[in-house]
Structures are given as C-alpha cells and as structure tokens.
Symmetry: C2
Subunit: 391 residues, 2 copies
C-alpha cells in the first residue's frame, strides 16, 4: 500500500479479476453498460470489469445496503463519511485561501462492480497553481496475486490469503488523496492521503479471519526552508500523533523520510511529515480516530503557512528553483510512488491519477546549487533528513 | 535493449556483478580509485564496481589493447569510431543551426572496469532549449540475470547464456544517444540512438557461440503537424533503409510506432520514425554499414526542418501546447523507456540518463484539444499512427 494507492476507483478496480486483461492496449472508453446488480461482496471470478462511468452528481454514499456496509454504522461507513467531510472542508479552506473566486471543479464517477469516487481540482487560481483533492470508495473481489501485491512484499498481515489454494479475495478500499501546488516559491507543496482497507476470507477458506488496515500520511515539500513553517507543520503532525501513542510521531516521521526517497538522486522529495502503512496492530476504533485526527490536521497544519507565504515577493531565480524541485516531484511520482505506478500500469482514470503532477516542472542539466545558498540548504535537508522538533 | 539503454557508462556498468549492491542507497560518489588492470574480458565474479570517474579530456579510444578490441579493425573499434565521429558532426551542425555562439559543454568519464563515455549538452541556446548528445563504450562482465534482462523477454538470441548453469557473461556495449528539444513550438524534438552489443560465451560454457546485435532508431516528436516536415523526415529514414533492404522501412517504422507508446494514455509520444532492436539476422558488416547510414542521416533529416521552423512566430497557446506534449515526453521516458528506467534502477550518472528530459514541461488537468484544431490533429496522429509516405 502506498500514499496514493486506491485513491482512484481504477486503482482498486484494477485489482478485480479480468481488469488487467480488459485494459491491455489502453483504449479510451470501451463498453460501459452499468451493472448495478448485487455484486458487492460476492466472488466474481473471471468477470471483466468495465471502466468507471461518469456521474452527474455525488451519491449520498458509495456503499450499498446489500452487504457492502451502508446503514450499518460500520468502520467502512464512518470512514467514507469522514473522507467526504474532509474533502469538503479542505476544498473550502483552499478556495478561501486562494481568494480569487476560483472554485474546485468536480468529477464524479461510479464503477459497475461497486463504489465510485469524486475528484476535485482547482487549477490556475491566484494562490494555487494546481490543487487536487480526490476521494474514492471501491469494493469487489481481487485475485490472490493482486492481494499479495497490494499488501507489499512484507506481507505481515498475509495469513488469510497467502495459502497456495487461496481464491479471489473480497475487498473494500476507501481513501482521500490530495496534492496542493501553490504558485509562490516560498509556499510549500502539500500531499496527504488517508485510506482504509478490508479483505474478507477468500471464498475457499471460510474459516480465515477478516482483515483490515489503515494507511496514510501528510508531507510537506517546500522549495525553501522557512524554519517557522516546517516546525509548525511537523508540530501539528506530532500533536495529532501524540493524542494516540507517543511512539507514533518518531516512528511515522522516519517512515515518511524513508518512503519519499528518490533513490536515483539520493534525495527525499521534500521535508517529510508522517507516513504509515498496513497499520492494524492497534484497536480498530482507535486507528479510525487517529486517521480522522490526521486528516483533520491538514487545514491547521497547512493553511497558516499558505496565508503567510502566498504573497511573498520572489525573483525569477526563486521560481526556477521551485520548478527544478517540481521536476523532482514528477520523478518521485512517476518512478517510485507505488500508487501512481500501480495505477498507470493497470489503467483507469489517468487524469485523476496524474493530478498529483505539478502544472509545470523543469530539468536543467547538471544543476547543483552553490554552497551556502538557500537552495543548497534545502537540498542538504532532502539528502540528510533533519529532526525539526525537540523530541 | 531499448533506445537509450547502454548509452551511458553507468547503464552498462550496472550490468556488472556487484554493481547493484554497491549502489543501494544511492550515494553521491563513493570510492573511485581507478583500476586500469587487464580486466577487459576476464570474468570477475563478485567484484564491486565503483562509479564512473570524471576525466579531463576524451581519450583517442575507450578500447584497450588487452583484448577489448583496440587496434584490431574489429566491429567494436569501427563502431566506436563511427559514433564518436557522428557525435562531433551532429554537435557541430546543431551549434551552427543554433547560431547564438552557444557551445556544447562536454563531460568525459571512464569506468574502472573498462570503457567510458562523453556527454555533450547545449542548454538554453537561441534555437535549442536543451540538446544532449552522448556516446559511451563499455565492457566487462555481467551476471546471467542481467544478461537476460538486457536481452528482453523475447530472448531470441538467448541460446548461449540461458541455460541453468550459465555464469557471468563478458559483454561489450557501445552507443550514441541524443535528444534535441528546440524552443520554437513548430520545431520538433528529435531523438536518435544507435548501439552495438556483443557477448562472449559464458565462462562455464566455452563452446557456446559469441553473439552480437545492433539496435537503434531515429524518431520525431513535433507539437504541430507540418506535413512537409514529417514527410521529409520519414523519407530520409526510408532512403537510409532502402539502401539495405526494402523491408526495413515499413518494418522499423511500425516497430517505432509500437515502441514509443504511452500505454496509460493510449498515445504515441510523437510521429515516429524508425526503431529496431536485437538485429543480428543479417551480415554483420551490412548492419554496421546500416547503423552508420542511419546515424549519418540525422543531420540531413533534421537540420533542414530546424532551419525552416526555428523562427516561426508563435503564441503563448502554441507554447503551452508544446509544454503539454513535453509532459508526455517525460511520462514516456520515466515510465516506459527501458534504457531510462533500467538506468534509474541501477544507479549511475543520473545527469546523463536524464538529459533526455526537456528543460520545461506541463501537466494540465483533463486537457483535451477541441475537434478541428491543429492540436487535436497532432493528438489524433499520436493515437492512430499514420503512413507518411506513399509506399
């Protein structure tokens, strides 16, 4: 599982049987007769899944009452409600900070197999060059191979479906994912993503346990280090973590530094934050509350920084350096980010997957900032991650 | 084998035993004591290979007289001479076309295991935004896995080293690789790459045959279709092909359309040209002459187009569309190009590998050019490749 994995319907969709085959060769459309049958949690081996279908407006819930969790007070239901509330609140706060009257454009879609998503994008505002905030809620079944791939090689939760005889695995995945690129080179880029995943017992192993896990994180990518801002950002992350477990912030801060690593550059893409994955070794209610707390921390962690920096004067040189760092962002997302690379390989709504890319980016041959410059200071902190707080 | 595979020393270097391990975690330097011993074709299992070493000037040849081919009149030697001559001629023609007095900057390096390379980059000229022309000549040994990876899954030449007991494989790889990005949106981007590869029998299979193959191609990526230019470009490719075999142009034109395919977009990155790989089922001298003819066709295929379009008036809208197409170029190179992705994964001189990326690029959410526009016409031709010549 990765930051943006399962944040578009197509990404989870691709986990369903037949999806890969139906997408080979690309194809911009294909048959899209919507099938609204009671397919929710039933095992549907060798059923080809169509592409997502555009919808005119968001439904009250992407869940159904046929066993997918609607009306049950389940974690699924509450997680969906949380991410949809947070999507609305974050978008409202961003529109207000942008202050130009620019509004998020919304794209809603459903998928025949179950679930759907809402993409919201604000482009070319006064403050934000490109801001995307997506939610998706998808469910169905996936083949055992996809299940193992989604769990990663570590596979510490892999008891149920890893047996040689395991069949297709019913799954549920919901998440919110967002990347916010401001125009001003002193205003940092923010990424956050929170997701919840469930699998049921494979069809042919009814005694195996149901599994669930949480993942996510929030991380900051400035072009220049303004200590006040970086410390504010990290302290809000720490406060959210500390409400639940004192080990969370140091552990998830390091995990974040390790994850957002551009190996071929030996650099992180930014100054980190928190990141966690496959989290299930705590009380489920506690982790739902923790994910909610983290998602609710996005606005207080980020908006004050934007307010302070959105009108800072800058030169062409500052802008060119920001553009070079945006190039690194593109490199990370296209080469390493597991959600993006998985999404690209398995097809789907490409505009939602690639909304994380900046509006513009730059690659300059052999550019190394000089010692002692602010640009070099940022690069050094990307090479050697720092502790920003007194722990 | 892929367009830019083995065009930097690090890419072939990475094929040598221990290279991957020595690069885990990146590391911007590392020990670089140069070892000039007689390591040429000897099998050196489990020897860690250092990174490339910068050199102050290019040597007369990167070959040595210890068996690597210097002074023998071998195909290796003549191929190196050809790509170095072509590098000089192409750079001179580009400097003249640029007309600003801007000159290519040269970086030379060697690698302790054998061989080296020359990168030449012209950045921010009057006509060219970024132009890179690299040659490399590398040799050593590679583990059987790397050998199979380099040969691709098709593996039609894989007789010698595919057996379960195959040991490290002595190899030689040389190539020229270039990407030229002009500023004017009506002046197309050009990519070309020609390479020659040899393997010897694995150490433990002395009776197995020595193998060799050629690969390469030249392809054009305009932002706007100017039929005169596209036809000129393709007709020069066809003329070069027709001198050797009438089947070459149609076969390599289709191969090119198939290779430069951005699967997640269902688009080619441009309007093609020629591409071939693993070519060894013709006379070796004939193929050396063919690769030479193709490389010598770069200047007559491209420079007249640049001369015609370098000063064409354009608007901000034309430039923005060019930038969007540059975004597609970045997507292809970072996600699909086998040389680039192999180079990134195995470490090496990252600036040489990524010199193919444009100076600037753009990603705009959900941008689709309107029917009937010139932008849509280009996109349609990228989705449905056309025949540009009357065959």
């Amino acid at each position: 599982m990765a930051p943006s994995l399962l944040t578009t319907p197509s990404q989870a969709l691709a986990l369903a049987p037949g999806a890969a085959a139906s997408r080979v060769g690309g194809g911009g459309g294909g048959g899209s007769a919507r099938r609204r049958g009671a397919l929710g949690m039933r095992v549907r081996a060798s059923v080809a899944i169509e592409k997502e279908t555009p919808e005119s407006e968001p439904p009250p819930t992407f869940l159904r009452e046929d066993g997918s969790g609607a009306g049950s007070g389940s974690v699924r239901e509450r997680f969906e409600a949380m991410i949809r509330r947070v999507q609305g609140e974050v978008c409202a706060a961003l529109e207000e900070a942008d202050g130009s009257g620019a509004r998020f454009v919304e794209d809603v879609w459903s998928r025949p197999g179950g679930g759907g998503g809402i993409s919201r994008v604000l482009q070319d505002g006064r403050v934000f060059e490109k801001a995307g905030v997506n939610v998706s809620v998808v469910y169905g079944v996936m083949p055992p191979d996809a299940y193992r791939a989604a769990k990663g090689e570590a596979g510490k939760n892999g008891a149920a479906a890893d047996g040689p005889k395991a069949g297709p695995v019913p799954f549920f995945a919901a998440g919110i994912s967002s990347v916010l690129h401001p125009k001003n080179p002193f205003a940092p880029t923010l990424h956050f993503n929170y997701r919840y995943f469930e699998t049921d017992a494979p069809k042919d192993a009814p005694g195996a346990p149901r599994q669930w896990w949480f993942g996510g994180g929030t991380d900051l990518t400035p072009s220049y280090i303004i200590e006040e801002d970086v410390k504010h950002f990290h302290s809000v992350q720490k406060q959210a973590c500390d409400k639940f477990d004192p080990s969370f912030y140091p552990r998830f801060k390091k995990w974040c530094d390790d994850y957002f690593y551009i190996k071929h550059r030996n650099e992180r893409r930014g100054l980190g934050g928190i990141f966690f994955d496959d989290l299930n070794d705590y009380d489920q209610e506690m982790l739902l509350n923790f994910a909610t707390e983290c998602a609710d921390s996005v606005v207080p962690a980020y908006i004050p920084i934007i307010e302070r920096r959105k009108d800072t004067p800058f030169t062409e040189e500052h802008k060119a350096w920001q553009q070079l760092r945006r190039g690194r962002y593109v490199e990370f997302n296209l080469v390493y980010d597991r959600g993006t690379t998985f999404g690209l390989k398995t097809g789907g709504r490409i505009e939602s997957i690639l909304v994380s890319l900046p509006l513009t980016a730059r690659w300059q041959y052999d550019h190394t900032p000089e010692e002692g410059t602010e640009e070099r200071k940022l690069l050094d902190a990307c090479i050697n991650p720092k502790e920003w707080l007194d722990l």
